[in-house]
């Protein structure tokens, strides 16, 4: 009897085990490899076994590497700007377009198109549009009689150029999530607010935004995580230049491995980025847990009546 019970209890785990093991290997092996590599002085021509173990020297070098810190700063600045802009524009558009007008569904589809284009293509597209002489922006400026702008060749402008491209591509992501959140809002509470004397703006500030907040926070964290890893668009548009003005961390990691052939050093950088993203992910989970706890507490209260 007891044995049967035990077998019954373990059966589900046994059935899950193969998938679990594969998943663990697939996840942990590369990460473990990367962590291990960050303690090596390793060039691509060597087999990993031939590389010299140098302990924490890669990390110590990172600590003294001004270029790394600059790159880190660029990444933070980039992520901050794009996420703030995308949140404002995305949520703003959703608030504007959340109404029943004919053709709205077509418009919504058009709005989310940029998100569906491969980043490489987005990068190329924007590079051509930013082209100093034949790009659409400078041609238009010229036609209107303005000076042309050194979009990608000036270290100040290049940063904004990259931000604009990213905002163009990823605002739709926030837009659709905000729109979904908005359509889940309780209609009658909004009607009640109308009767209570709230105008459009007051409804947004006092009812819509607070009720959308949980979704918006998760959206923001997802976008933030993604913004820290952006690579292709910047690689294609500026390749980090001019100078280090647009060299975001992912690009620096890529170049360290590819151009400078320092695999161990780039692995160390990746680990720093990984830790940063892990913290963001944990923040997201904690926030989710708090929300769930609150919801279940409410349910319990209601059941008690």
């Amino acid at each position: 009897m007891d044995v049967v019970k035990k077998i019954n209890k373990f059966t589900p785990y046994m059935l899950l085990a193969p998938a679990g093991i594969i998943l663990l290997l697939a996840l942990l092996y590369p990460i473990g490899y990367m962590v291990y590599a960050s303690f090596l002085d390793w060039s691509p021509s060597q087999h990993i076994g031939q590389a010299e173990f140098i302990g924490l020297r890669n990390y110590i070098n990172l600590w003294n590497d001004a270029a790394f810190f600059e790159s880190f700063g660029v990444t933070l600045k980039f992520a901050f700007f794009v996420v703030v802009l995308e949140m404002i524009i995305g949520v703003g558009l959703a608030l504007l377009l959340d109404r029943e007008i004919r053709g709205m569904s077509v418009l919504r589809v058009i709005f989310i198109l940029p998100m569906m284009i491969a980043p490489i293509v987005v990068g190329l597209m924007w590079r051509y549009m930013y082209h100093p002489t034949v790009g659409v922006f400078n041609r238009t400026l010229k036609e209107w009689g303005f000076e042309s702008i050194p979009w990608l060749s000036d270290s100040g402008w290049a940063f904004y150029g990259v931000i604009i491209a990213d905002v163009w591509q990823w605002t739709p992501f926030i837009f659709i999530l905000a729109l979904a959140a908005m359509q889940g809002l309780p209609r009658s509470a909004l009607e009640a607010a109308e009767l209570d004397g709230a105008g459009e703006w007051q409804k947004i500030v006092h009812i819509k935004l607070p009720l959308m907040l949980p979704v918006l926070i998760i959206t923001l964290l997802l976008r933030l995580i993604d913004a820290f890893k952006v690579l292709e668009v910047v690689l294609i548009m500026t390749n980090g230049g001019p100078g280090l003005s647009t060299e975001i961390l992912a690009l620096r990691i890529f170049r360290t491995a590819q151009e400078f052939q320092e695999l161990g050093y780039s692995a160390a950088m990746s680990n720093i980025l990984l830790i940063l993203l892990m913290l963001l992910t944990i923040a997201m989970f904690v926030y989710n847990k708090i929300q769930e706890n609150r919801a279940s507490k409410m349910c319990a209260m209601i059941e008690k009546g």
Binding site: P186, E194, L195, D196, G197, L211, I302
Partner: protein
């Protein structure tokens, strides 16, 4: 207090006509109750008064001025929604004071008003809870409190008690009646529960299929329903309807059908004689039927008791009059044998007559 008038109000969703020209004038300080079966357009009417639905045709006036182009917030109305429509992220105090805070009323005044309303509704201990942490009945009261605190001229209620259990509903019904006596405002109340309508209303408006069937005081509607629908809708258990034909017996106008014969009052007899159609449906309320040992020549119902439902001091007998169902309400101490044909009688002026085809009262 404002006088609200609906003038030939029409509502159409696409090609689907929901309201077919509603005309109604609501007197000052009146408690008006809209009743009717599900889907008859009660909520639609209320929401049009509130400004939450557009008006297809016709007009709504307050004190003679058309309001159909006014925003909801400019109409001086407070509404209690069927699903409460509380703001989920605000606590009870914030929910109730939302309108006042939007008007930038002084903090002290808001606090004092919230406390006063919470006191009358028994919500003082819950002021800091969110709606999700309240029971249905408590949420209900918050929704009412949010309307009360506004001090607007008219209150609209859309089935506010429908989600409560029977006991709480009774209690809230009494509280609403008290509240109306105390605050003396226009109240427009939608329900499909006829007991709520009868107990609360100064005036009942019975709706069916997008038309007003009849409106008037509960007594008027109960005693003189204008058609078969109103007669059947008000009263519990509902009125019995039996088909019969007009005949003359010993010079008295009677209606006779399978298993029954009733003489009608002189007045109605005259009306019947003028009436072309002799096909009649009679209506008798279960409480107007009484048992009689003897068979009465001019008012007799031969009923066979099938089931007796004991509901306290009263019992409801479900009986068969030939093949048609008839219910009878009696004092419980009067015990009658089952499955035997018994004689019942009704007073002539308690018998309602309807044209069988048009269903209009005669």
């Amino acid at each position: 207090m404002p006088i609200i008038e609906l003038k030939n109000l029409v509502k159409r969703y696409g090609s689907f006509k929901v309201l077919h020209g509603i005309n109604l004038k609501m007197v000052e300080n009146e408690f008006t109750v809209f009743v009717g079966p599900s889907g008859c357009g009660k909520s639609t009417t209320l929401r049009m008064i509130a400004g939450l639905e557009t008006v297809t045709a016709g007009d709504i006036t307050i004190n003679g001025n058309s309001i159909i182009n006014l925003e909801p917030k400019s109409r001086d109305l407070a509404m209690v929604f069927q699903d409460y429509a509380l703001y989920p992220h605000m606590n009870v105090a914030k929910n109730m004071s939302f309108a006042l805070r939007l008007q930038r009323a002084p903090k002290a005044e808001i606090k004092q008003k919230v406390e006063a309303v919470a006191e009358t509704l028994g919500l003082t201990d819950f002021l800091h809870r969110k709606p999700g942490e309240l029971s249905g009945g408590q949420r209900q009261r918050v929704a009412i409190g949010r309307a009360l605190i506004r001090d607007s001229g008219t209150f609209l209620f859309d089935e506010p008690l429908s989600n409560l259990d029977a006991k709480l509903r009774g209690k809230m019904r009494a509280e609403l009646a008290l509240m109306h006596q105390r605050v003396n405002k226009n109240m427009i109340y939608v329900t499909h529960d006829q007991i709520e309508a009868m107990t609360l209303a100064d005036r009942i408006v019975v709706m069916h299929g997008g038309h007003i069937q009849q409106h008037g005081s509960p007594q008027e509607l109960f005693n003189e329903p204008c058609n078969k629908f109103v007669a059947g809708f008000l009263g519990s258990p509902p009125m019995n309807f039996l088909d019969g034909d007009v005949i003359s017996k010993n010079g008295v106008v009677c209606v006779e059908g399978d298993g029954f014969i009733v003489a009608v009052s002189d007045e109605k007899g005259k009306a019947l004689n003028e009436q072309k159609s002799k096909q009649i449906t009679i209506g008798v309320r279960p409480s107007d039927l009484t048992y009689s040992e003897e068979k009465q020549a001019l008012s007799n119902f031969a009923l066979r008791v099938v089931v007796s439902e004991y509901i306290g001091t009263q019992s409801v007998l479900l009986t068969k009059c030939f093949t048609q169902d008839v219910s009878v309400e009696l004092k419980s101490d009067q015990i009658l044998p089952k499955n035997k044909i018994l004689n019942f009688t009704a007073l002539a002026d308690k018998v309602h007559l309807f044209d069988r085809v048009t269903e209009i009262a005669i």
